[in-house]
């Protein structure tokens, strides 16, 4: 293993400390629960939106805490759900009379931890609702899940719910926004290499130099099939077809198109994929209203990418356009 680590067991709190120090005044870090929250939340009459999951997917989830995005998030160890009490403290840290919406990606460990945390919060009189995100079309059931996995589409749920909450929407309305985004977003990914959790020190799965895993999960879970690697356009076509046919997206639809890097693929390669995906979308009669190319939901240093389509309406376009700020910046 060749990584920038000090003590592997301290990897998660150490990177969280870096996120905190890089965002002075904006974020608060509570190390006991591996929890980062906005310093200006809770705010009276505003719904808070929270999330928490295993680490290794940065910028999801902790680095998407900020104005117009998440109010707070907690991190578990790499690829493992956070403990129940951290989830509970996350809800409690931003609880308001308007309520808290918990966005949970569909993994068994995350679901059980948040479900129990919500029950504990409710017992304390906190108004809380949870929503399960499951945008991955590659497999119906997977490692750690019953039903489809939650992957890069999560970003759009956070963005839209964050904007709605910032605008002062009530809890039921923000929940309805989450439902609408999840119902209209679909993703599929492909991996070219494996990845190494720092505390584990070895690759989470083996893959040959000339192979790809089509439909990969963000924890290295198997997808649809293992195959010989193809050229970029052929791979993009397979991802696009799988995603586009699933909803299905129809000619005339206005969409957001995302090419998400899984952590170890250069931005230039992501734009090679985007070029083909954009052309395929236009050929299919889709209007690409907004595009996203970069890293939104990763799997440590895995080389690979995912393609996401989100069907838009006036409300969602407005929410995607709304200003937002996160802990990762390049300017």
């Amino acid at each position: 293993m060749k990584k920038f680590v000090n003590e592997p067991a301290n990897f998660v709190p150490e990177f969280m400390k870096g996120v905190l120090l890089a965002n002075p005044g904006l974020l608060e870090f509570i190390p006991e629960f591996q929890l980062i929250k906005r310093t200006d939340r809770p705010a009276e009459n505003k719904v808070s939106v929270v999330q928490g999951s295993g680490s290794g997917h940065e910028p999801a989830h902790i680095m998407t805490v900020g104005p117009g995005m998440l109010s707070a998030a907690c991190q578990g160890p790499v690829f493992a759900a956070p403990p129940v009490d951290a989830c509970y403290e996350t809800i409690k840290s931003v609880a308001t009379d308007a309520g808290v919406l918990v966005l949970v990606n569909n993994y068994q460990g995350d679901r059980m931890a948040w479900d129990m945390a919500c029950e504990m919060a409710e017992a304390e009189g906190i108004k809380v609702k949870q929503f399960i995100i499951n945008d991955d079309v590659s497999v119906e059931d997977s490692l750690y899940t019953v039903g489809r996995r939650g992957v890069a589409g999560n970003f759009f749920v956070i963005k839209a719910c964050g904007a709605a909450a910032e605008a002062g929407a009530d809890l039921d309305t923000v929940l309805a926004v989450a439902e609408k985004v999840n119902a209209n977003v679909r993703t599929m990914g492909v991996a070219l290499t494996s990845c190494i959790p720092p505390a584990k020190g070895t690759a989470i799965f083996e893959i040959g130099d000339d192979e790809m895993e089509v439909g990969i999960g963000i924890h290295g879970e198997p997808g649809r099939r293992r195959d010989k690697i193809k050229n970029a356009d052929a791979i993009t076509d397979e991802l696009f077809d799988a995603v586009a046919q699933d909803l299905p997206y129809k000619s005339g639809d206005r969409v957001a198109l995302m090419i998400n890097g899984l952590g170890g693929t250069p931005i230039s390669e992501l734009y090679v994929l985007y070029a083909r995906a954009h052309e395929r979308a236009e050929q299919a009669g889709l209007t690409v209203v907004r595009n996203y190319v970069g890293e939104y939901c990763t799997s440590l240093e895995m080389a690979g990418a995912s393609l996401t389509l989100l069907k838009l309406d006036g409300q969602l376009e407005e929410y995607l356009d709304a200003p937002a700020e996160v802990a990762v910046r390049i300017f």
Partner: protein
Amino acid sequence: MTELTIEQIEKAIDVASDTVIRNEIYFSDLDGLAGDGDFGTSLATGFKVIKADLPTLDKSAVGAMLLKISMLCSKHVGGSSGPIWGTGFMRAGMASKDKTSVSLEDLAAMVNSAVEGIMARGGAKLGDKTLLDALIPIAEKMKEMAPTGDAAATLKAVTEVADKAIDETRNLVAHRGRASQVGERSANTPDPGIVGVATILYDWCKHYGVDYTPTAAELNR
């Protein structure tokens, strides 16, 4: 009519903690056959804290103590076991809230409530090869035995239920949890959750002098 005091329940949990701690490696090895091998360690990490904190926990009522234990599970038991065991203690605590002692019938209601909570939490049902394959028939047996007021006979009966569950589920394919992902590979391996429950019950038998001879190989080590 048998009434269990808070002190007696505290002692039973202390004995169970010893069972979990002593079997840390064995339970993880069982989990490693089809799962990710963290079950024993996850559980033992939490029960070490529970055992250490037990003497100083709130003992104003049975429920108060169990709710504190639930909180310790949710904080210190890792992986999926945290919410599962935490839910069990939470529901049992809610069902015994202000009681300073519990009858066998109270205990049966607490166990039933815990089992319902765990089913709701994880979405598993009978035959999915999880610890519920032991807990569901245990709850039924307790309800049946409770009116007798015979604690020793009830313990023996539920230990037999858990013991049998090990062998009855051995050849099932897991439908929930990490083991569900290896499909057929999970057949012919015992479920570590079921073995865990059965081992705790068998150790209680030994502690309370209840004579029981187990059949499953996992209890005859």
